[in-house]
């Protein structure tokens, strides 16, 4: 709206600007699932839709029900696809804050044993354990991982009750991966189950159910 038309006597234009805002529909807290899922890149910005104003007035209690749907390439919690990880320690070396610690998997999973069948000594399998409290979410570990085992997931709820839970063990990372990449998880896990019966990654689920 062009405010030049309004004669500027002392304070008339600011009043006009504020008056126009009074008549416009107010913007509310954007609802969680305001993004339609079909387009890869949802234009929350004004470009595609004239007003991004929610049609439903969102009250505080609703916020807790909705988890905001971040963009596909959001850099939130880090998930680990343990089956691909070979323990090459690339992520351990690159991490700026030294949050990653390599932890040995004591009951060595069957796919690793089968890999070293002919050799005499089995190399111990190492998986990263991330101290998410110190993590910068910078994404260097995900980039440096050559076996695409580490993934960025749009998860953001890393808050825990005790400080120890901030150390995400490779089982927690595997769960996060499963939470945010269900299809790949199902496909790979089904195929793994066909070949071998049980592995240390899945003990946790058995216990919790």
């Amino acid at each position: 709206m062009n405010f030049k038309l309004i004669p500027n006597f002392l304070i008339t234009r600011p009043l006009a600007y504020v008056g126009r805002l009074l008549l416009k529909k107010p913007i509310t807290i954007p609802d969680g699932d305001r993004r339609n899922k079909d387009t890869i890149y949802y234009p929350k910005t004004l470009a595609k839709r004239q007003e991004t104003i929610l049609d439903r007035d969102l009250t505080l209690s609703d916020v807790f029900k909705h988890t905001p749907h971040l963009t596909p390439n959001a850099r939130g919690l880090i998930g680990l696809n343990a089956l691909n990880c070979t323990g090459c320690q690339a992520c351990y070396r690159i991490c700026p804050n030294k949050c990653i610690e390599m932890v040995e998997v004591n009951p060595i999973p069957p796919h690793w044993v089968e890999k070293y069948k002919d050799k005499d000594k089995i190399r111990p399998l190492l998986h990263p354990q991330i101290f998410i409290g110190r993590c910068l979410y910078c994404g260097f570990c995900v980039e440096s991982c050559k076996f695409d085992a580490l993934y960025h997931t749009p998860g953001f709820d890393a808050a825990t009750i005790s400080k120890e839970d901030l150390h995400h063990d490779f089982r927690d990372l595997y769960k996060i991966y499963q939470l945010y990449f269900p299809q790949e998880y199902e496909k790979q896990w089904k195929e793994y189950e066909r070949k071998y019966s049980k592995s240390p990654y899945h003990e946790v689920e058995a216990k919790e159910e």
Binding site: K98, E101, V103, Q129, F131, R134, E164, H167, D169, R171, D172, V204
Partner: protein, 168 residues
């Protein structure tokens, strides 16, 4: 006053005092001066050459000696950036003349230099700690290396936290 004319006028005026003067890039100059005639060269730079503002003072600790790097630049006419190096061989109490009388902006930079490197600044208006807390001396009164954090002897702890294995 284009860049070349700067070069020429600096050369004839201070041929004896300058250790090194070269043109590094399109509008960059590099200058090496000894500690004694630093003040004099700076005054000439400010008033004759028109280098109007001092940007930053960086301390450098080369284990055996200290070095202080000044960045001075001018905006009017032909804008150039001058990088002045001063080498301080005395390791116990390194000392640099204060430039606050020439450029007022040097005030904070010199306080920070003294605060983090321990390079004392001669006749600086109020040489107090800028970034570190005033009680810093009581914390680390043990050894000089503990006092000035930016020196090479001051080591950062290797792993600042202890890794507790996951309780599972």
């Amino acid at each position: 006053m284009s860049l070349e004319s700067h070069l020429q006028s600096l050369k004839e005026k201070y041929s004896s005092k300058l250790i090194l003067l070269e043109k590094t890039e399109k509008n960059r100059l590099k200058l090496q001066v000894t500690q004694e005639n630093l003040l004099e060269v700076m005054q000439c730079l400010k008033y004759e050459m028109g280098f109007s503002s001092l940007e930053s003072i960086a301390g450098l600790d080369w284990e055996t000696y200290f070095e202080v790097v000044y960045h001075i630049d001018r905006w009017d006419g032909d804008p150039t950036l001058l990088q002045v190096h001063v080498r301080l061989d005395d390791r116990e109490n390194p000392m640099v003349p204060s430039l606050t009388s020439i450029w007022a902006s040097a005030n904070w930079h010199e306080r920070e230099l003294w605060d983090l490197y321990g390079i004392s600044v001669k006749d600086h208006p109020n040489l107090k700690r800028l970034l570190l807390p005033d009680e810093w001396d009581e914390f680390k009164h043990k050894h000089i290396s503990e006092l000035y954090p930016m020196r090479k002897e001051y080591k950062l702890p290797e792993k600042p936290y202890s890794f507790k294995p996951h309780p599972k």
